[in-house]
């Protein structure tokens, strides 16, 4: 499945400072769909190059990270259970505090 993954708010520093990643992610074996829980595992394995604890905590993203699927907060689409579709855009962004 072709997806666009974007990292911002400093999370790009965990992926060699690259913000936009056009990736191809396979369905889990035996599964008929790809959900956000699968994608998080894939991202952690394939894109996060350092300090994975700054990206995840337990089986979800760490506190202070917003996840957006097609410009919409994943809390509105089922969080970890959100089903992904071909060409979806998923944004991971860390909240900023500076000023």
């Amino acid at each position: 499945m072709q997806l666009t993954l974007e990292f911002g708010g400093g999370l790009e520093l965990l992926c060699d400072s690259v913000k936009v990643h056009n990736v191809s992610v396979d369905m889990p074996k035996g599964a008929e769909k790809l959900i956000m829980k699968d994608l998080l595992g894939w991202v952690r394995t394939n894109l996060i190059k350092e300090r994975p604890e700054m990206f995840m905590k337990g089986d979800t993203v760490r506190p202070g990270v917003l996840v957006l699927v097609n410009d919409c907060d994943w809390e509105l689409s089922g969080q970890l259970d959100t089903t992904l579709e071909e060409k979806d855009v998923v944004v991971f962004i860390s909240t900023l505090h500076g000023g």
């Binding site: 202070g64 919409c72 944004v91 909240t95 500076g98 000023g99």
Partner: protein
């Protein structure tokens, strides 16, 4: 322009004529603005442009909270301060500039750090709160205080070459804790002083904060509630995304929330976020 009952003096009619000409703003919205009060917490990178435009537009009463003094390394982004005020309180410097561009606005100087001990009393005096601070504990404290008092909160942030903006606790929308119930790890809470910021980035976000505060105070347009603006200055990209609504489980604003003013005054935001409210300055070494 037709006859409408209003509180505008002839001087105001002249000064704000370009607002009064606007069919979607006009005398009604300008009167609302002149009868409103807005508090800006922080007279730094975000607060500088926010205060300049809130003073210029004719908000009736404009409060400034800050405990800091103007330093040379602020001046690349904090454009409300002049070199003549280096070493002096930011509140005094910002108030002086605001008065110099619009003497008809009442400027209130709160020269103190915002704390749980004074936040309720200060916020109570204003209709709209603008969060222009630079650290995580202040953001939780300001949001909680706004929930307790039912005040809309215009929240901006900038770091490096990115900025973020949203409106909290407005018209049934989410509060800061609805989005971030658990504080981030300390290592994720970088400030401009530690990590740097391109000066014009808080400039852009601070202007957008002024716009949202003006829209709320004058009751025009659709404030950025339930939505968040994400700005990437280097790529020149902006996303406006849909965020969650008010969380029924929120400890501050949820259905069963029991957070009281008393508890607020006793809450330790520094311990909660494991970050100081007023961090010590960084010393830069450069060869």
């Amino acid at each position: 322009i037709t006859a409408v009952h209003h509180d505008l003096t002839p001087e105001m009619i002249h000064r704000y004529s370009r607002h009064l000409l606007l069919p979607s703003f006009g005398v009604k919205a300008q009167s609302n603005l002149i009868n409103s009060s807005i508090l800006v917490v922080g007279a730094g990178g975000l607060g500088s442009p926010a205060l300049l435009y809130l003073a210029a537009c004719g908000a009736g009463r404009l409060g400034i909270v800050d405990h800091d003094v103007v330093e040379l390394n602020n001046m690349h982004r904090q454009v409300i301060h002049t070199e003549a005020f280096i070493g002096q309180p930011k509140v005094k410097s910002a108030a002086t500039t605001c008065r110099s561009i619009n003497s008809s606005v009442q400027i209130v100087e709160h020269h103190e750090a915002l704390r749980t001990s004074n936040a309720l009393e200060i916020f109570n005096q204003y209709d709209v709160i603008v969060d222009a601070t630079d650290n995580a504990p202040s953001r939780y404290m300001i949001s909680d205080c706004c929930v307790l008092l039912g005040k809309p909160l215009v929240s901006g942030a900038a770091l490096g070459l990115e900025g973020q903006l949203t409106v909290y606790n407005y018209n049934g929308g989410p509060c800061y804790r609805c989005l971030f119930p658990t504080p981030p790890p300390t290592a994720a809470c970088q400030r401009c002083a530690d990590s740097g910021v391109l000066g014009v980035v808080p400039g852009i976000i601070g202007c957008l904060q002024a716009l949202e505060a003006i829209k709320i105070a004058s009751a025009v347009g659709e404030p950025l509630s339930g939505r968040m603006l994400l700005f990437d200055a280097l790529a020149a990209r902006i996303r406006i995304v849909k965020i969650r609504g008010r969380s029924p489980q929120c400890e501050a604003c949820g259905e069963n929330a029991t957070f009281t003013q008393q508890q607020f005054q006793e809450f330790d935001y520094e311990k909660f976020t494991q970050s100081p409210l007023t961090p010590s300055p960084l010393k830069l070494k450069l060869l």
